[in-house]
């Protein structure tokens, strides 16, 4: 970029916050990197954030939608690419209530018992309250312990419920979510299951196997095979030239777009880039278009480039693009099977 060569230093923390800290120290103090890009996960981001702020280094496009990284006014040293969990869940709720005419009490929540699950649930309640929910206690909310598959109690509570939910919003890992869906199906619960992007679409699809259940996963990037979108086309071409064996995926595409935003900012720096200079350049991007189908916006008060959410649905063991317009049809499919 402008005669400088970019170097990517990749360190693995194995999703363990305890390993994040030494990694961050190495990147910022030994490698003296320009910026940190693409950290994965909420707990790791919570561990990394104080170090980035202390060292005044940009923490760019972390792979999480947690509200903690989206303060208002924003932290100078945190800039996001993707939509937040709140936005993903708000999109689901909007579609469920407005699109398919459900009442707030028709929606149940199945969440992981930690900060990730809390974030999802409070976002959902906020969205439901916008749609006229009066009493948060009306909404059925069941939970499970992180790192376990013990979801039976939660499911039993849902089935016992006076009012059987017609949609279940899930904020959890793919294992327990898949188990919940399977057992619920066996128990005769007919509902639409909606997951946030973090669940991991591919492992969820392979866990569910050939099961015929309506499952939606919201994404924060377009479908990686949707070559209608210009940036996806460019991604597929670049991926092929980089390694023809590698399979395209949602996560990889998110990383690709984040890197493209970074490069777009770096190109605007005439001389030697500095840590502060990178942030100024990103904030200076203003409204810009990388062919995502919608323009992105970055500025001193605007530290999240994209707010868009792309829904996908399970079909034949894989997740395919899907439009919220069709949600009633998807629900109706569930409805028709009721005795």
């Amino acid at each position: 970029v402008n005669g400088h060569r970019l170097r990517l230093v990749a360190l693995d923390d194995g999703y363990e916050p305890a390993r994040t800290v030494p990694n961050m120290r190495q990147l910022l103090e030994k490698e003296k990197v320009l910026a940190v890009i693409g950290d994965v996960g909420t707990p790791t981001a919570i561990a990394a954030l104080p170090i980035a702020i202390e060292q005044k280094t940009l923490f760019f496009a972390p792979f999480t939608g947690a509200g903690l990284l989206r303060k208002n006014p924003p932290d100078r040293y945190v800039i996001n690419f993707r939509a937040s969990y709140d936005e993903e869940i708000a999109a689901m709720i909007d579609a469920l209530i407005d699109g398919s005419g459900l009442q707030p009490r028709d929606v149940a929540f199945f969440t992981q018992r930690d900060s990730y699950g809390d974030a999802g649930f409070s976002g959902g309640i906020a969205a439901l309250q916008r749609h006229g929910l009066q009493d948060a206690n009306q909404v059925l909310h069941v939970r499970y312990e992180r790192n376990t598959l013990a979801i039976e109690n939660a499911l039993a509570t849902v089935i016992y419920a006076e009012h059987t939910p017609r949609a279940v919003v899930m904020v959890g890992a793919y294992g327990p979510c898949a188990k919940f869906i399977k057992l619920a199906h066996e128990a005769g619960l007919r509902a639409l299951y909606l997951n946030v992007s973090f669940v991991g679409s591919n492992p969820l699809a392979s866990e569910l196997g050939p099961l015929e259940v309506p499952v939606v996963v919201t994404q924060v990037v377009p479908h990686p095979l949707d070559s209608e979108v210009p940036i996806v086309r460019e991604y597929l071409a670049d991926l092929k030239s980089f390694d023809s064996e590698m399979k395209p995926g949602f996560g990889a595409l998110e990383g690709y777009i984040a890197a493209r935003v970074m490069v777009a900012a770096l190109e605007r720096i005439p001389g030697e880039p500095t840590r502060e200079g990178v942030i100024d350049a990103l904030e200076g991007l203003g409204e810009f278009d990388l062919g995502l189908g919608k323009k992105m916006l970055l500025g001193p008060q605007q530290h999240q480039a994209s707010h868009r959410v792309w829904p996908t649905m399970l079909r034949n063991g894989a997740f395919v693009p899907f439009s919220w317009v069709n949600i009633t049809k998807l629900m109706g499919g569930g409805e028709s099977r009721r005795p």
Binding site: L149, N153, A156, A187
Partner: protein, 1191 residues
């Protein structure tokens, strides 16, 4: 005169011989002195050499010994071992051997020989230490303990997971059936309903709960095991707590499903693994099998014990060496003293010799001098006689002349005086810095001096007559004239301050005084007066007032600043002390524990200082508030004593207190402030007293109907205070002297605060002290008497006239006890030791009036309390004496120990008056109360069901609070401000909120108000305020804001436990929810029945008979102490109440079942009573379901 040459010649000759004699004497003296001095110098040099050599040797020895010990300590320490270890002990050995070879002094030889032996011991000890170190390194490098505890934890989690899944599956199964029933109808529905009723799901779900409960218990025990510091506790933990839980788990695991099912098998296997993990394969660590957690913990503790032993031995050897070195130094001292004595002898001999020669010479010299003086006097007498005759004539002429001169001078002086007086008046009047005037009786001015012109701003000419009145300021004129006339009429002098206005318009303040002049008949002749310009003084006064206001404001600012500072310091101090407490509760090495203890005591010390400063600033700013409460003086004094007893007794000081029986008990005032003064003085005394006693005595000074003046004396046997220091002692920032501050610490504010407090309570404080003997602080306070108070002890009680013997070696304690029992009208004897006690008891028995009761102090020299008790019980004549033992805090005596020696009852010193009375009365009547050891706080912690939300903005304090909660067994979450509290309460129904009052965004008061508003009349969240403001009035503010309780920061674990316990009690009273779950009831109600009765009716009618019957049987089983019966009946009742969802009744039954299984009768009575109450509630809810009850 003619004989002069002849006499002169003789005198000259005599003087020459005198000179020669003198010279000779000097030569002899110098010779003798020189010789002696040179001999002395030689000896002194030798002495210094010897002294140095011996001193150096001792120093080197001491240094080597210190190094050797340090080396052993470093081996035993945690630091890694240096390679050059052997040198210092070998060095010590070589050193001793070398000196043994070179030093011929017979006195030193045995000391050196002993040192040699000790050095050998030291070397052996070092070998032992190295061996220990090798073992220690092996254990330390092997992280088995951590790994094992990790494995055990993960096994427990795994088991919990299995339970969770299995229980969940059952519930899911049931839910599915329930759903099918709901969605079906007719025959199908009925089949589904029966399927639900016949399934044993509910039963199994309960079994899982039981299992999970045991599992939680086990998890807690494992953590306790890992942190246990005492070997005997460790074994106890394993045998009496962990093993039974494991066994119960094993048993419970068989109830989890059908035999051979996957759950039962997996569970059994996992429990087996847990057993191995905790107890080990064979329970024997010599076996090859993997060691259990218990063995690992035991090994670590044993190592620690061995190390302590090594350190103790090293200390013993080192004391030996120190003693030997001291002997060595003593020998050296002896040698030096010998040499010094020899020198002294030599000097004395030389001195005598010199005196002899000197006195001979002196006699000769004096004789010669006498002869010379006689010759000279003869000559002088002849000359004197001739001169006296000529002097007499001259003196007569001089006398006449002087008399004439005197008369003329006297006349001139009178004239001069008159002139000078006139002159002086003019000069004074003209140059006086004040205006002077003279008026006639009517007020017309006759004279004024030039200064008047300057002050009045008008010329002398203008002022004459009535002109002067124009100088007075128009506003003041009327008042001045009135005063003027009044003073003239009354004959008083005029004295007033008023204003002049100059013609130029300028205003001046003046001070004028005048006196009326009167003739001898009393007629008014006029006035003479002065006028003084005081404008400048006025200005200064105004400025002064302004400056004083500014100073007052700055004092206010200072006090506010101090209050703020104290808040700011207390917040981080909460972090320091809280975290340290939590740290102390983790497993630490002895060294780490010592460091952490130091941090904690330092922190608490710092906090005390901050409190002092805050108090002081409040006193200084006049902000100290006094409450006016009814209180019990006895209670206040005894409470204070109890609080400090442990500290005093830990120092080995006798600690006693006594309130004179004449002192009224029921008073009004501020008990908190009184306690503050007492605590301050008592802890001061304890601090400065190393041996002996600290005693408090309260006496009545005077008394009226409404008021009593009391005198408190706090006396100690400490270091005492010098007279000079006593004056400044009660001033702020003073201690007795600077070195005291260095040695004992402290701000020097305590006594200043005491003085202020006492004076505010209408009293005085003073001090009597003898340096080295001790001090007595005496203060008085005036307190109101309560209007209504119950009369003193009824005259007729069990102790009247009973004879009691007090055995206490400490005079004060004995005296206090004596006065107390005398006040109770007992007949008393007091002795100081065990032998006298036996003698007195026997004598009384012989005389036919035996002592039925004896109060014995535990801690006595020669024969202690237990020994005395044994001796008394061994003597048949006096064995009937009933014995009460006075023990100290922290002295652990078991009930058996005391009962075995025949002690009837015992109390800790200082004992509360009321407790002592109960104790003595109980013993006299012969029914000592059954005493059980109260369980310590540590063992009683168990998992609490309340969910707690902590609102605290400081991150460190958040962690402290979380840690304390975990320690107390509560599940807690934490948020940072009031808004977050409200958000969290929306999601989770917390039972308790710990609320920091000062938070950003929304503070605790606002948040509480918002919570209360939302709750309305519904469920009430228990809110506990936490605040770092130690000001009184905070509590009221918190309660007014709607909070329920209050704890002050830094939050101490004990305080927290107390407020949470209170919350727990209140909440459990509140939480009497519905006796029967309405949803379950509704479900049952809808079930179709057979014949005319539906299922619910049938169930209810059965239960209404069986329930009360079951409770009767329970009571009967308890009466015949049939634990198995209780367990069985409780189990049945639990099942039958479960079908209605009567969860509280179920809980009581479950607890009864457990108590029955454990054979624990203690809680049964209470539980059965609770169950009985609850059953009534359940029946009341159920009975309307029966058709005939509706009629």
């Amino acid at each position: 005169v003619i004989n002069l040459p002849h006499h002169a010649k003789r005198i000259v000759w005599l003087v020459r011989s005198l000179t020669a004699l003198g010279l000779l004497m000097i030569v002899i003296a110098v010779g003798l002195l020189g010789g002696t001095l040179s001999a002395m110098r030689k000896q002194r040099t030798q002495l210094a050499l010897t002294e140095n050599e011996l001193k150096e040797t001792a120093e080197q020895l001491s240094h080597s010994a210190w190094e050797s010990r340090a080396e052993i300590m470093s081996i035993l320490g945690d630091a890694t071992l240096g390679a050059d270890g052997q040198n210092s002990i070998a060095g010590l050995n070589d050193f001793v051997r070398g000196h043994l070879a070179a030093q011929p002094d017979p006195l030193v030889v045995p000391v050196l020989l002993e040192l040699k032996t000790l050095a050998g011991n030291l070397a052996a000890l070092r070998e032992g230490a190295v061996a220990w170190r090798v073992r220690y390194d092996v254990v330390r490098s092997d992280s088995d303990t951590e790994r094992t505890i990790g494995r055990v934890r993960s096994l427990i989690t795994q088991l919990h997971g299995i339970m969770e899944v299995a229980q969940g599956s059952l519930r899911l199964d049931e839910a599915t059936k329930y759903r099918r029933w709901r969605e079906s109808s007719g025959e199908e529905a009925r089949r589904q309903a029966e399927a639900i009723l016949t399934a044993r799901g509910q039963q199994e779900i309960r079994e899982f709960d039981v299992f999970d409960h045991e599992l939680q218990e086990l998890a807690l025990l494992v953590e306790l095991l890992g942190g246990e510091q005492q070997l005997d506790h460790l074994a106890d933990l394993k045998e009496n707590q962990i093993k039974p839980v494991l066994d119960r788990l094993s048993r419970a695991s068989f109830n989890l499903g059908t035999k051979g099912s996957a759950v039962v098998t997996t569970t059994a296997q996992t429990i087996e693994q847990l057993k191995i993990g905790i107890i080990g394969e064979s329970g024997n660590r010599d076996q090859a099998g993997p060691s259990g957690l218990f063995d690992l913990c035991r090994e670590a503790l044993e190592l620690n014990r061995d190390r302590e032993k090594c350190i103790n031995e090293a200390a013993t050897v080192r004391h030996g060496i120190d003693a030997a070195i001291a002997t060595f130094a003593q020998v050296a001292q002896t040698r030096i003293a010998e040499l010094a004595r020899k020198m002294e002898r030599d000097v004395a001999f030389d001195w005598r010799r010199m005196m002899l020669v000197g006195s001979g010479c002196a006699v000769l010299f004096l004789w010669l001098a006498w002869i010379i003086s006689r010759r000279i006097r003869e000559q002088v007498q002849v000359l004197e006689r001739a001169r006296a005759e000529s002097d007499a004539d001259r003196q007569t002429a001089q006398k006449l002349m002087l008399e004439q001169q005197g008369a003329a001078a006297e006349l001139a002086a009178i004239h001069q005086n008159l002139r000078e007086s006139e002159q002086r008046f003019r000069l004074l009047s003209a140059s006086a810095p004040i205006g002077i005037f003279h008026c006639e009786a009517a007020g017309g001015c006759l004279y004024c001096n030039p200064e008047w012109e300057k002050i009045a701003g008008m010329s002398v000419a203008d002022s004459l007559g009535d002109g002067w009145r124009r100088a007075i300021h128009p506003d003041d004129q009327a008042a001045v004239m009135e005063e003027w006339i009044r003073s003239a009429n009354s004959g008083r002098s005029f004295d007033s301050e008023f204003r002049f206005r100059w013609l130029s318009g300028e205003t001046r303040w003046v001070h004028s005084r005048s006196v009326p002049l009167r003739s001898e008949t009393g007629e008014l002749l006029g006035h003479v007066g002065t006028v003084e310009d005081i404008t400048q003084r006025r200005q200064i006064e105004i400025e002064f007032t302004r400056a004083r206001d500014a100073a007052l404001e700055s004092v206010q600012l200072k006090s506010r600043f101090l209050a703020n500072m104290s808040h700011e310091i207390r917040t981080p101090m909460n972090g320091v002390i809280g975290m340290t407490n939590i740290l102390l509760d983790t497993s630490l090495t002895a060294e780490q524990r010592e460091y952490a203890e130091t941090i904690r005591t330092s922190g608490e010390g710092l906090l005390a200082i901050i409190n002092d400063i805050l108090d002081f600033s409040k006193v200084e700013a006049g902000k100290m508030e006094f409450e006016m409460l009814d209180f019990d003086l006895q209670e206040t004094v005894e409470g204070t004593l109890e609080l400090l007893a442990e500290t005093a007794q830990a120092k080995g000081i006798e600690f006693a207190g006594f309130v004179d029986p004449h002192v009224p008990r029921h008073l009004r005032g501020d008990p908190g402030r009184l306690r503050q003064v007492l605590t301050n003085l008592l802890s001061n005394s304890i601090k400065f007293t190393a041996i002996g006693e600290v005693a408090l005595r309260v006496a009545l000074v005077s008394e009226s109907d409404a008021e009593a003046e009391l005198e408190f004396r706090v006396s100690d046997t400490g270091i005492g205070i010098e007279a000079e220091s006593r004056r400044t002692l009660f001033e702020a920032f003073h201690q007795a002297d600077a070195s005291t501050t260095r040695k004992y610490g402290g701000t020097g504010l305590g006594l200043a605060i005491c003085k202020q407090l006492v004076e505010r309570m209408g009293g005085q404080i003073r001090l009597e002290s003898t340096v080295g003997k001790g001090s007595t602080f005496i203060f008085t306070v005036k307190l109101e008497k309560q209007s209504a108070f119950e009369p003193a002890l009824n005259g007729d009680h069990a102790l009247v006239n009973a004879r009691v013997l007090i055995v206490d070696d400490n005079e004060t304690s004995g005296q206090f006890l004596h006065e107390q029992v005398v006040a109770w009208k007992m007949r008393n004897g007091t002795v100081r030791n065990g032998a006298d006690a036996l003698e007195r008891l026997r004598q009384a028995a012989r005389e036919g009036d035996p002592y039925p009761l004896a109060i014995i102090d535990m801690k006595m020299p020669e024969m202690d309390g237990l020994a005395l008790a044994r001796a008394i019980k061994a003597d048949a004549d006096i064995a009937d004496t009933r014995l009460v033992l006075m023990t100290e805090f922290g002295r652990r005596l078991t009930v058996e120990e005391l009962r075995n020696v025949g002690i009837a009852d015992w109390r800790n010193k200082p004992v509360r008056q009321s407790l002592l009375f109960d104790c003595l009365a109980g013993v006299m009547i012969g029914v000592p109360k059954p005493r059980t050891e109260t369980p310590s706080a540590k063992t009683s912690r168990s998992r609490r069901s309340e969910r707690v939300l902590i609102a605290e903005d400081n991150a460190v304090n958040q962690r402290v609070a979380l840690g304390q909660m975990r320690k107390l067994g509560y599940t807690a979450d934490v948020v940072g401000d009031g808004f977050e509290v409200l958000q969290s309460l929306d999601k989770i129904a917390y039972d308790i909120v710990l609320m920091d009052c000062h938070m950003p965004e929304m503070d605790g008061y606002e948040a509480t108000a918002a919570i209360r508003e939302r709750e309305g009349a519904g469920k009430r969240t228990w809110i506990i305020a936490m605040t770092a403001n130690a000001m009184s009035g905070d509590r009221e503010q918190c309660l007014a804001a709607g909070m329920d309780d209050y704890v002050s920061k830094p939050v101490r674990l004990d305080d927290l436990a107390a407020v949470l316990e209170r919350a727990h009690c209140e909440l459990s009273i509140q939480a009497e929810g519905p006796a029967v779950d309405p949803q379950t009831l509704a479900t049952l109600r809808e079930l179709p029945g057979e014949g005319e009765k539906n299922i619910l009716e049938r169930l209810v009618s059965i239960f209404c008979e069986s329930g009360p019957l079951a409770l009767q049987e329970l009571s009967a089983a308890l009466t015949r102490q049939d634990a198995a019966g209780v367990s069985l009946i409780a189990h049945t009742l639990q099942s039958s109440s479960g079908q209605f969802g009567a969860s509280r009744l179920q809980e009581y039954c479950a607890e009864l079942e457990i108590a029955g299984r454990d054979g624990n009768f203690e809680p049964m009575g209470r539980l059965i009573a609770s169950a009985q109450n609850e059953l009534q509630r359940v029946l009341a809810t159920l009975q309307p379901e029966l058709p005939n009850s509706n009629v």
